[in-house]
Symmetry: C2
């Protein structure tokens, strides 16, 4: 094979680096895209170029949008006084899909991790403390993962905010979850937090 | 969410249509790409645009390249008189990776299928018959899948080529395969084709 296929090999190599794809699935995806050139490949190239040139992090909360301040931070409707702290933009999107939270967000960009040498200054924690001084905040909801690093981060943030109401998401049986498939930690948490019917 | 995220949603929707990706993995991939904008997102957009504007099917064999006649069909070294017939470009790539076949290919673009109403004219079978008349062919190797449609297609092609040496890939135990995990059909084929050591 000569340079006839260099562009193809390059595209496959780039696709194979995406999370969830490997060399084999990247080849399959590329062949699929070439077969649907007008419907998939060229629109995808265009969409990536647009996002690549316009996407930026909101200077206030870390959400991804196309402006310096994202729509959620800008909307007066979202000024409920509640800030939901999440690890990542994916978590913000998950919260938005549930449509239950009406306030604003703060994206940390990860969790504290001694192993990976990630301290408060590597995350967006100083900015969170600034926001709580400046904005009119009544409650900080910590929606961090139920992992050791997530809970460490949650406790660290709570310690930095004396006098502020800090809550975290409830732990328990997920909707549709069967007890038989749950780990002991979840069952313990669900039992300890049991409610009267 | 307003038009701030339209480009992002569009990119995620397009990515989610690729084989092997769904909505969740598309979101993960897009966030990953945005984080690695200069290393992943923009190079990928550029690579897709290049392939989208230059990739074409070889007029002779159906392989994907950037010219009317692909490198393999053009190379005098590959004029061994052997044509390897495959279903799809992915199969051609798999054969090329093994580096064991030195001849040329013919990509059918699928298999005969009564259920999907795919007959010989929907595939590149007439072009294969033309090539066998024009090129100096000593052997046609059918490297089609060991499925019902693949084997039907193989027998159909063999019937169209009286007087031409037609072979097919051997069936048997895959390298590294354990008998315990093999289906009965493979074990039967391997036993029937057993060889003296």
């Amino acid at each position: 094979m000569s340079n006839d296929t260099d562009d193809l090999d390059n595209l496959i190599a780039l696709m194979a680096k995406l999370p969830g794809l490997g060399p084999r699935s990247a080849r399959r995806a590329v062949l699929h895209m070439i077969k649907k050139r007008g419907l998939v490949l060229l629109p995808l190239a265009e969409a990536m170029h647009r996002v690549g040139t316009t996407a930026r992090e909101c200077l206030n909360c870390g959400n991804i949008g196309t402006k310096d301040i994202c729509d959620i931070c800008e909307s007066p409707k979202r000024a409920t006084g509640e800030i939901c702290v999440v690890e990542d933009v994916a978590d913000l999107w998950a919260m938005e899909r549930s449509q239950v939270f009406k306030g604003r967000y703060h994206v940390l960009g990860g969790t504290l991790s001694a192993l990976d040498a990630i301290g408060p200054d590597e995350l967006r924690i100083p900015k969170l403390l600034d926001r709580i001084k400046v904005e009119d905040i009544s409650e900080v909801i910590l929606a961090l993962g139920a992992t050791i690093d997530g809970q460490t981060t949650a406790h660290y943030i709570a310690d930095q905010l004396p006098g502020v109401k800090v809550t975290s998401l409830a732990q328990g049986v997920p909707v549709g979850g069967e007890l038989d498939y749950l780990d002991d930690g979840t069952i313990t948490a669900a039992l300890n937090a049991r409610k009267a019917l």
